[in-house]
């Protein structure tokens, strides 16, 4: 049953990728259908799970022994508990919607079949990731989604930028994967196994150092996958991929895998405070980092990418808070899944109508041309800035409270950071909103003279946007309603109430205030006066932010250039030194030979001399031997 969840999309991928051209017409529907199938399955399982009391809701399925070598016993086995269930629903649900959306979005791409194949592959891998019952199988899904993301980012391979972005994403992720691998090594050498059950159950028994080590390595993995500082650089470029991909993989699901990993290994982090602190720091830094970038980008998708980064920063931070945060992290993850996916789909719809123009400075006043997109996007916008009553409000507010509840100076700092983040979020999202839908039209005919004719997108694209909009409006309230979500997750993530130093009400009001400030600031800058089509030079900070706060340039200079120099010099060394030594020896023998053969000068008498000398030597040697 659980296996089928993974099998369905996997089958789809196999058929679509190996199947020939004759699938071109029907392929996309097949893919969508199979995604739907796994969603239905998930729903059935969910209902079935609700039927059982909280503590024995987890399902286990052992398929077969995978790699048995000595003490190393890796199995293909699944575990479906509340945490996995949450993800499964999110993945299959949003996934199905985005499949549907892509049917329209990719209509004019002659490689649509393959696109759906990749999407199905991604679903399979992502489901495997969240359903695995041991870290090795999780690792498989982990790299599987990496592969899918690589294929989809680089889907338009004829664009060098896309190809480069794809490679960058995979390599950066590989760094994280290496972390996960090392974490698994440590688990194996410590516990002799890497299955969730025994490892998490016995986490406390391991030494502090080991746990910290494992924790940090897991964090590294999470940073890679969830685009957290310092491994965040790939996410911005990843926007080269088709927009549905950005929505599904780089907003709703894959990038949140890091949060899943940390939450899943909560037992380890709980026992390793140092590692936890590291998690919190990473989260805090990233949520500001992403937010700042989000403010500076004129590319609508890049702006949303920055916001994704920052929102995941919230989740990671929450997950770093321990039992008081896990549930909220996941909750925010789900709500974010809805509204961020919605926002991306909206952006996609806008681009669809604007000849794939991404520069917001060339939009403006679009609310008249694409009303549905405007509304859905707007709801998503309200949700993400945490407008009271919408889902983002509940989840983010909870996280801010938990941050304060961390207690001590740490608590205050974290609280302040989260609040500041909320303000900036409000600012840049408002900016996006204003630039895109308000003001007067700023687009001109492009160099080829064809002027974009903004229009509403086809049904297949609109429906998903609407559905997601509903999600972004109501999900939060639903979850918050007498702590339904927290209680649902409690058996897995063990929840305890945090006690913020100042009243909950106070925090809520604070949140609303900062949010209003952010909106106001944005309106002052972009709402009142016309927006220049060409970006002004901007302050130093702005320019830095536009360049991802120079972090990319750092990578470029230090890693890329440095690496090139290293490899080039190594190639030189290999040819000249290592190989040169070999050829040199050969040459040396040749020269020696050339010199030695001169003795053979053709004169019989000199031969006689050598014989005579030889005889003398022989005699001398023999006598000498006797002498000594």
């Amino acid at each position: 049953m659980i296996g089928l969840l993974v099998a369905a999309p996997l089958l789809g991928a196999a058929v679509l990728l190996c199947g020939g051209r004759h699938l071109n017409r029907t392929g996309h529907w097949l893919g969508t259908a199979l995604a739907g199938v796994s969603f239905v399955l998930a729903a059935v399982l969910f209902v079935d799970m609700l039927g059982r009391p909280g503590d024995d809701r987890a399902l286990h399925q052992h398929l077969y022994s995978w790699v048995p070598v000595g003490g190393f016993q890796a199995d293909i086995a699944f575990q479906l508990d509340q945490l996995s269930m949450t993800f499964v629903l999110l993945i299959t649900g949003v996934g199905t919607l985005i499949h549907l959306y892509s049917v329209g979005y990719m209509e004019h791409d002659n490689r649509r079949r393959r696109f759906f194949g990749y999407l199905n592959l991604f679903l399979a891998a992502m489901l495997l990731l969240v359903l695995a019952d041991n870290f090795l199988l999780l690792y498989v899904g982990w790299e599987g989604v990496g592969l899918a993301s690589y294929l989809l980012i680089g889907f338009w391979q004829h664009k060098p930028s896309a190809a480069t972005a794809a490679k960058k994403a995979f390599v950066v992720n590989r760094v994280g994967d290496a972390g996960l691998a090392i974490a698994i090594f440590l688990m194996f050498t410590t516990f002799g196994t890497f299955a969730f059950g025994p490892v998490l159950a016995n986490a406390e028994e391991a030494t502090q150092a080991t746990l910290t080590g494992i924790g940090l390595m897991l964090l590294l993995a999470a940073c890679g996958k969830s685009a957290q500082v310092p491994l965040q650089s790939w996410l911005g470029d990843a926007m080269e991929g088709p927009t549905p991909v950005s929505a599904l993989i780089h907003a709703a699901t894959m990038v949140t895998a890091g949060v899943y990993l940390i939450t899943r290994s909560g037992a380890i982090f709980n026992a390793a405070p140092d590692a936890q602190t590291a998690v919190v720091v990473v989260g805090a830094v990233t949520l500001l980092f992403g937010a700042i970038i989000g403010c500076a980008k004129d590319d609508i998708k890049k702006a949303l990418a920055g916001s994704t980064m920052s929102q995941i920063g919230y989740m990671v931070l929450a997950a770093g808070l321990g039992p008081i945060g896990y549930a909220f992290a996941i909750m925010h993850l789900v709500t974010h899944g809805f509204f961020k996916a919605g926002l991306f789909l909206g952006a996609g719809s806008v681009m669809h109508g604007m000849n794939d123009e991404v520069d917001m400075r060339k939009y403006g006043g679009l609310r008249k041309y694409m009303p549905v997109t405007f509304v859905t996007f707007g709801l998503g916008y309200l949700a993400i800035i945490g407008f009271p009553g919408l889902s983002g409000f509940f989840s983010k507010d909870a996280i801010i409270e938990a941050a304060f509840a961390k207690g001590g100076t740490q608590g205050w700092i974290l609280g302040a950071v989260t609040l500041l983040g909320a303000a900036i979020t409000a600012y840049y999202m408002t900016r996006v909103m204003l630039l895109t839908f308000f003001g007067e039209k700023r687009w001109q005919p492009d160099e080829r003279g064809n002027e974009p004719h903004p229009h509403e997108s086809p049904k297949t694209m609109v429906i998903p946007m609407v559905v997601l909009a509903f999600g972004s409006v109501f999900a939060g309230g639903l979850f918050k309603f007498n702590d339904a979500f927290v209680n649902w997750l409690r058996p897995v993530t063990s929840f305890e109430h945090g006690h913020p130093p100042i009243g909950v009400a106070a925090i809520t009001t604070l949140t609303v205030v900062v949010l209003l400030i952010g909106v106001a600031a944005a309106w002052l800058q972009y709402g009142r006066r016309p927006v220049p089509v060409v970006a002004p030079r901007g302050s130093l900070v702005t320019r830095a932010a536009r360049r991802d706060l120079l972090q990319d340039d750092f990578n470029h200079v230090v890693l890329v250039r440095g690496g090139e120099h290293l490899t080039r010099s190594l190639v030189y060394v290999d040819n000249k030194l290592v190989d040169g030594a070999v050829n040199g020896t050969a040459a040396a023998f040749g020269g020696l030979s050339g010199r030695m053969r001169r003795v053979q000068n053709g004169f019989a008498r000199s031969y006689a001399v050598s014989m005579f000398g030889g005889a003398a030597l022989l005699v001398a040697a023999t006598l000498l031997m006797r002498a000594v």
Partner: protein
């Protein structure tokens, strides 16, 4: 179970040998007959190898299907064959890959259209006969349990390989036909001399081994069993220094064959200049004899010395992993890139062997098999690509994916296998090697893990530069996609990579007992986990 009445191993080696003779004897005009004959023979060999795998009982004796005849009594040399799980795996790999190599090289040795005298030298018959000859010799050396017998074929296989490398290069050489010929013969000579030097040093060690056994057991012997028994019975005890010298003698030869840094420089030349199928033959089959021999002979004959040398060997292996990967990143030539990648992978294999854990050595054995498959897939597709464009330079490609999607796709899968993506077979072996290494030498394990990141870099760089981007070269626009024959070569390899990636158990079941034996040879056991009771609880 193991039917010893019929000399199965001998038959498996003799069949291709006879096939080689027959193929060579096919008259010049009947070129295709020779090809088909060779293919059929290789398939027959594969069938025999399958029979071996079936006849082999994982739970049975260490060496099975044994044969033993007196050969050169004066040197105490016996014709002794026998396989353990590792041997079965390696013979299986060899017998499996040869048909693909033959099919992939179907047209590599066809005479060129214009029969000008200097081009006349492409005897198809010879090409396939040599391949079969190599197969026969490789199989014998995998099955030999007599050191001298092994040595003979270990050395002898250099000759056919030498002719394969030097005699049959790519049709259109980037640097022109004449220059190409020069480079080829340089590569061939380098290959042969390099390996011959190693082999000769090993010869000295082999003689030394004889002398040691002779003056301790009265009669010199090369039989693994006899030596093992004598050791067990305490009749044979090597002086520490002697054992170390002999170990070094053997190890040098295997390290050159494997090849291990800094003895690797022959491989890029050899693989770069030879045709893709031959390159596969080198790296996927012949070089495996080196690593296999480390596992069987270095560890089996000189356990103490192996333990003594382990730190140095592991250091070399690590250097190979990182160094090979970095150089692969820096290559401009597709085949040389794959060659350096192989150097990196051989580093992993050696690392696993000398980690002296069941995961490490089991992983190393699987690695030998899986690396064979993955490199075959990648290199053969690369060969198809090169044969289309007539250039090995990466810079001559770009955007292939647009005109030849299937080719690009298979190439990508081969690449992903090379960077050992989970779900594909190589991942399992690489992870096992890493775990096995880490559990005994954590630092080494971590350093080696860097290798998997670098692997991603060189594979994806290669794919990006050749397959993606705009099609801006006229030659590329006319590039045809994979032909049925080529697809028939690649598809099964990919299928195998996926299947073994998901279900390697049949292989591990065969290999594990053999690895346990090897570990007991060196008197090592896996390190216990820090919290053994968890293990127990599980």
């Amino acid at each position: 179970m193991a039917d010893t009445s019929f000399p199965l191993l001998t038959a498996t080696a003799v069949l291709p040998a006879l096939g080689a003779v027959a193929t060579a004897a096919v008259p010049a005009a009947r070129r295709d007959a020779a090809k088909w004959l060779a293919l059929v023979v290789s398939l027959g060999t594969l069938a025999l190898a399958a029979w071996i795998a079936l006849a082999f009982d994982p739970g049975g004796a260490r060496y099975q299907l044994t044969e033993s005849r007196s050969w050169i009594a004066d040197f105490g040399v016996r014709y002794e064959l026998g396989v353990d799980g590792i041997g079965v795996a390696m013979i299986g790999l060899t017998a499996l890959l040869i048909p693909f190599i033959i099919a992939a090289g179907w047209h590599d040795a066809d005479p060129l259209e214009d029969a000008s005298p200097n081009r006349r030298w492409r005897p198809t018959q010879g090409f396939f006969a040599l391949i079969l000859m190599v197969e026969a010799m490789v199989i014998i050396s995998f099955a030999a349990t007599d050191v001298f017998l092994f040595y003979i074929f270990f050395e002898a296989m250099l000759i056919p390989m030498y002719f394969l490398i030097g005699g049959f290069g790519d049709r259109a050489h980037s640097a022109g036909e004449a220059e190409g010929a020069k480079q080829r013969s340089y590569a061939a000579v380098k290959f042969l001399l390099y390996n011959l030097v190693g082999g000769l040093v090993m010869l000295a060690a082999v003689i030394g081994l004889y002398v040691v056994t002779a003056d301790q057991l009265g009669q010199g012997t090369f039989s693994m069993q006899q030596i093992a028994e004598a050791r067990a019975a305490g009749e044979l005890t090597m002086a520490t220094n002697i054992e170390r010298l002999l170990f070094l003698g053997f190890f040098l030869a295997f390290a050159i064959k494997a090849p291990l840094w800094p003895l690797h420089t022959w491989l890029p030349n050899a693989m770069g200049e030879s045709t893709a199928p031959v390159a596969v033959l080198i790296t996927a089959v012949v070089d495996k004899v080196g690593t296999f021999a480390m596992l069987r002979f270095c560890l089996g004959l000189f356990p103490e010395a192996s333990a003594w040398a382990t730190p140095a060997v592991i250091a070399l292996a690590l250097v190979s992993i990182i160094y090979g990967a970095l150089l692969a990143i820096g290559q401009r030539d597709i085949k040389r890139l794959v060659a350096y990648a192989s150097i990196s992978h051989f580093g992993f294999i050696v690392l696993g062997i000398f980690a002296m854990t069941s995961q490490g050595q089991g992983g190393a054995t699987l690695y030998m098999v899986f690396h064979g498959l993955s490199t075959a897939a990648l290199m053969l597709v690369a060969g198809f690509l090169i044969s289309r464009r007539g250039s090995r330079l990466i810079s001559d490609y770009g955007g292939v994916q647009k005109v030849a999607p299937v080719l690009a796709g298979t190439f990508l899968v081969g690449g992903l296998a090379t960077l050992s993506l989970p779900g594909l077979a190589p991942f399992i072996s690489e992870f096992l090697v890493l775990v096995g290494t880490f559990s005994r030498y954590p630092a080494a394990g971590i350093v080696a893990t860097v290798g998997i990141v670098l692997a991603a870099v060189y594979v994806l760089l290669l794919y990006q530069r050749t397959m993606t981007g705009p099609v801006d070269k006229p030659e590329i626009e006319r590039l045809p996609d994979l032909r049925p024959r080529e697809l028939a070569v690649v598809a099964p390899l990919i299928a195998l990579l996926i299947f073994l990636g998901l279900f390697p158990k049949p292989l591990t079941d065969i290999v594990n007992p053999a690895v346990e034996h090897t570990l007991s040879d060196v008197r090592k056991t896996d390190p216990e986990p820090a919290l053994p009771e968890v293990e127990a609880a599980k």
